[in-house]
Symmetry: D2
Subunit: 377 residues, 4 copies
């Protein structure tokens, strides 16, 4: 039994993507071939946000660096920032805005569904103005997708710069950066791209670039300073030595997604099947609506301990699934169906293993998960 | 002709080290096997600084993240910091100390040799006290090695926390962290380790850990906050998702160095041969003494343009060599002989190519570089 | 959709086994390390035939070289050879025995089941004596397993050297060379070992070695002469330059099998599930009994053309399945469940694809193949 | 110290060529993509013999299979065969011609130089007619190259089918199959192609194909029967399961050679440098003229034992060099400079190691080998 990692990120990389890490490396500071590779990778990366106008940047660091970079680069002392909070990640963004000197105002909303745009508009009208707003596309800990297609145009109309954490949706959900007037979108390598952790993809609208260029105070960070990246191609100079291994791996991963035009549809269909299987078998999905298409968060059944389930699956079946964090720790279990893991055969195997576990625990399900999965179209 | 990268970092990785990047990846947040791998890698990493007591940390980011992390984590507003400057990198450290609120006092010294410890002591006595001092082991742009074996004990006696940038010396020079009372030492992956860029190795003395734990103000950064790393193994939790690909590659790279106990001696001997070849052939080494053993910086001969030389070697011979930066741009050329590049056959090839270039330019050398190299023991 | 090769050999190799082909190669004639690797691989290979006494040889050539080597090495002009024929491969063995000068006597038996040992004994008593007998363990074109556990002891009692073609059973079925008194057993790399084609594994009993050593005429071949291999380790000399890449790959493949002690049981269970699925859904298995555990041969349904089915699965689903050969061409389709392909998730995927194909052809099955597969324990 | 294999084959493969072995494998019997790959590889293979008209075949077996196949396929009982013998390999060909029923007539000539074509013509006129002749392009054990550009046209004029063993010259020497009227040329994978052993490349002229098609008796072998290969592409059927791993690796290896048009010139120049170095330093080359360009065979110096030298280089320097065989065992040492080993830096390293060995043995050379190598243009 090969290890099967079915957590909502990091996901397992394909052999091709892992193999791309082992290219013969060069001097990425001096070798113009690397600048071409980097530029080509950025262009491909923009295809997944359907953007012509935005500037793509790939930084060397885990995706959280993207969140911090947004705050470090956009916020000046005392800026009023709207923190849109309907989940743990949305809420947590506020710690970064605080750290970089913002006055953070939280729009707190139901954690069991996506943001209601009307309520949000009302909140903005009553509590604005705001320089920028932070929000999360896919609330990974709870499996919610926020309607950024409605939120970002609203923010734009209100003159608010939108910072979108799309770490666990990029490459799995449809995103239209230009059309939806997103100002900054942040993605990582280890989720739907199924590349090793360590790369942060950032997309900036022209408006966002302008704001960066015109900020008055200096940025209080070097590593998280997006301004250092604005002229990389023009100056043929990176802020620090880049990794051709990682960029090459991202490039191959993007090819794999772009070559199969149906990635959005596939994620959507598989997610629906997974949800239906659990619902039909008597489980409760955490979300009430606005379900994520890249992972599913399910309430732990009565009498089942998550750690026990996790260890059984790991030790007996060599399968890793996710739990959740913070106040959801022990209350939810999560299955990732993003990137390379979004495959029928992987879901089949994990459901079969869960069936065995629940049988082992004398928990009778309304339906067998893996048989139900086979039956659903 | 395979591309031969003979710059002073990034260096070319061995097939084994590149291959180690392509391991089947797991969930590094949840998989205890990864914590074991990380811990094992940290233990091996400590061998190259001959340390028992220090704490090793491997962050996901280019080595400059280590410098910023030092400043972000140790400096509190208004701290007096001694910036030891006998080279571009030493001087540049001061920008980070400023950024994080220090009062930076520069000890400026001759750029053509290592720091004179007596002069430094006098300076400290006259200008102290200092909370911490920043210094560079190997001044990569100019090929100087500073005597950290003398400087750090002095700093320690003076009650100053020592922050050593050993990015281009770690793995090539002998370092004794505990004996020399170094408080923080920073290394990167892409120099003597010959791993792709993207990993920062940090070593902290017990005293340094104590200082971190007792700082009064909160650290104004998340990604550069060393405090988040102090209890990684105890809590079995990283500050962000780590990369098993990278850690595995570092692990293999460390094995390759540790397995050949003579790495210090080999770097030293090869460096001396390279210097002697250039001196015997009529070139001028930039340094007057305290030469680096991991690279050699040579003055450009009269009438030769660095870019022309660089492009000739790249286009005709598929060899990359380094120039220099800042005020040394165009005035020095540099050859790396660190990590995987520190091999007789590589130096032989680059010298032969340089002979051809100089002949092509009608520059008569006193001796042929590659024949001289063959002759020297 | 990755290509999924579900034919009864060649099978797809694991990443580990393919990766083992790319080791840094040495001079296999001179490097004693290679002799150790070869010897170690032979020892492991013997574990799959549960033999202590036999001599293992790994030749550089496709498995059919093993059949020819048996005939070239054992047969002397005019030897009477019993060719046990209940399938295309069994029958074909006779062409090799003829080529090397034997008088070939065929025991022809029902193609839809394994050999009846009583009938065979009667035949031998009436038509013997024979110097040697050729037989096939798994008749790959039709999916039959012969009871070599009964046949070989019988041959031994009758003083007949037994030559067993175990090419598509080795590594999937239980084999006990010593206990069953098998004299020569032939295996290949590309079936249950799931290594690329090009290696032939041969196992010789002590009695067989003695017969080789005492043959009177010279062997009329070099490449197919087993005598050249008897003293490889003693003389530290191969008959020709061997491939360390291939031996290393076989070594890793054997490890993968040996590490999971249950390979016989797994093949058996999965084979039964596959048969039951097809039977329950209204298909006819070709065999009446003595089914192969490494592949299943099923009769083509009325009105379905094999080539059409093959191409649909290849073009629409990127799955390869097998047809059959000779008189069974177009009449049977075959699914391999051997070696790396013997996995639930692979079978699930191929059955789902077949369901789609039959639906596409308006052929109504009694039960859906993949749902039935999910249901069967 | 990485192992450096400087023997005259097998040579070390490049990372690319080894990597090409680890492709995801398919069913080579059924997958048309593989037939395309095979055909493409054959076309590239023909470029190295500068042939338009010939038929290329790649068999699964070590190169000696090519020699046996020539004899098995062309010779009918009692055929008169001319065995051209000026070396161990040329002489040994006669054992195969005998085995397959030929009347073998030896043309024995000076072992220290290439064949004298005038003497050969005289011999043929006096001893002919012959159906075919066997000869060796590069006598690997002694480092002689035979003038096949003169011999084969002569044989053609005399109506004799020419069978050329070009195993250690193919890919290193210029060969013009059509122009020189060669009928069959045999190459292997592990010499100048620098691919693992296990592939035999065979090139057949139209005349040779005709002879095969018209032979009267059946071929007494299956595995060595070239007739089975004549219609592979037409019938889309191989005689046995082929290896896509190996064919892919050969394909990549051919690309590497073809991409650098100067491979003949490079081999020639490096070979001359190696010879001059040894001659200038006081050694004796075995050959008097007609030196091989792919290896050099040098007489052992007085008082030096080959095994001692071999083991010193292996154990102290991790370098493998070759000795010789048969009557030259212990009397010659050989250095390969073929394929991937034909690189300045490799020769430099092996010569430096030899210098150290001879110094260790107190043998004073007239000149230092590696310094002399550096000096020679």
């Amino acid at each position: 039994m090969e290890r099967l990692v079915m957590t909502p990120g990091p996901t397992q990389s394909s052999e091709e993507v892992r193999g791309a890490l082992s290219i013969k490396n060069t001097n990425t500071d001096l070798d113009k071939d690397f600048f071409k590779l980097y530029n080509d990778t950025c262009k491909k990366a923009k295809k997944l946000v359907n953007s012509k106008d935005s500037k793509a940047i790939i930084m060397l660091g885990e995706a959280i660096l993207g969140l911090e970079s947004a705050c470090a680069s956009f916020i000046e002392e005392g800026d009023r920032v709207l923190c849109i909070d309907n989940g743990i990640f949305g809420r947590g963004f506020g710690e970064f805005t605080d750290m970089y000197g913002a006055e953070t105002i939280y729009f707190r909303s139901d954690y069991k569904r996506g943001i209601d745009v009307d309520e949000l508009e009302k909140f903005i009208d009553e509590n604005g103005p705001f320089k920028l707003a932070t929000l999360v596309h896919c609330e990974t800990p709870t499996g919610i997708t926020n309607p950024i297609e409605d939120i970002c145009p609203l923010l734009n109309r209100k003159g608010i710069i939108s910072i979108v954490d799309a770490v666990s949706s990029y490459g799995g959900e449809f995103i239209s950066m230009d059309e939806w007037a997103i100002d900054m979108l942040i993605a990582g390598t280890q989720k739907c791209l199924s590349v090793t952790a360590g790369g942060t993809l950032v997309f900036l609208s022209n408006r966002a670039v302008e704001v960066l260029e015109n900020r008055k105070s200096s940025v209080r960070s070097f590593y998280a300073n997006l301004k250092n990246w604005l002229l990389v191609m023009e100056n043929q100079k990176f802020p620090y030595t880049h990794s051709d291994a990682l960029i090459n791996s991202i490039n191959v991963a993007l090819d794999r997604i772009i070559d199969r035009a149906d990635y959005v549809q596939r994620h959507k269909e598989l997610a629906k099947k997974v949800r239906d299987v659990f619902i039909n078998s008597g489980f409760n999905i955490y979300a009430n609506k606005d379900y994520s298409n890249t992972l599913t968060a399910i309430k732990m059944p009565e009498g089942i301990d998550f750690d026990h389930m996790f260890n059984y699956l790991k030790d007996e079946k060599n399968i890793l699934i996710g739990g959740s964090i913070a106040e959801f720790n022990g209350k939810l279990f999560r299955i990732g169906h993003m990137g390379e893991n979004a495959k029928d055969e992987h879901i089949y195997i994990v459901l079969k293993a869960l069936d065995e576990y629940f049988k082992h625990m004398n928990l009778t399900l309304e339906k067998s998960l893996h048989i139900e999965f086979a039956k659903i179209k």
